[in-house]
Symmetry: C2
Subunit: 103 residues, 2 copies
């Protein structure tokens, strides 16, 4: 499976999208992430593995824990590239303008 497919497959699951949200603020241990969801530890572990294989998160061991960190550039690049490949520059410009107005 190629890179873009891995990214969009990873983003297709709502639990995984929410994991990315949780990681937005700071890196977190697998168990800490799991504690925020109803589903079992092993299930969270597999979601994390899928996000990692899509390179949307990275991990590092810290003592007894494994810390997961969001990789926002990879997310922004993969999704952003797809978006600009399909939506015309015009549409992308309009979006930027609208979101500036919103702010």
């Amino acid at each position: 499976m190629n890179s873009i497919s891995r990214v969009f497959k990873a983003l297709a699951d709502p639990t995984r999208r929410q994991i990315l949200q949780e990681l937005k603020r700071s890196e977190m241990a697998a168990g800490e992430i799991g504690a925020r969801f109803e589903i079992s530890g092993p299930s969270i572990s597999r979601h994390l593995a899928i996000l990692k294989s899509a390179e949307l998160v990275s991990d590092r061991r810290s003592g007894n824990h494994i810390l997961y960190r969001l990789e926002p550039h990879n997310l922004a690049n993969a999704v952003g590239d797809f978006l600009s490949a399909i939506c015309s520059t015009q549409v992308m410009q309009q979006r930027k303008i609208r979101s500036r107005r919103r702010t």
Copy 2:
């Protein structure tokens, strides 16, 4: 299923992402789209229905044909909103700058 879930589920399939690519240039009849893929007409029809329910395409009848059209604003808004919700403004800005340089 909510709107954002429908969008990301729709984008998870490579055939559907390619259909969006094909529709980038102009609207096309279902059969014309199907002709560009190896898979059967009914399968293409279901992919189109999924894209439509995610509001990434719209359709209209024209005589004997049903023409499908890309809805780039909906795509850009759904995916763009998600991206800005997760990636910091910094990252988004860097992306814009990089893609300007590339151009």
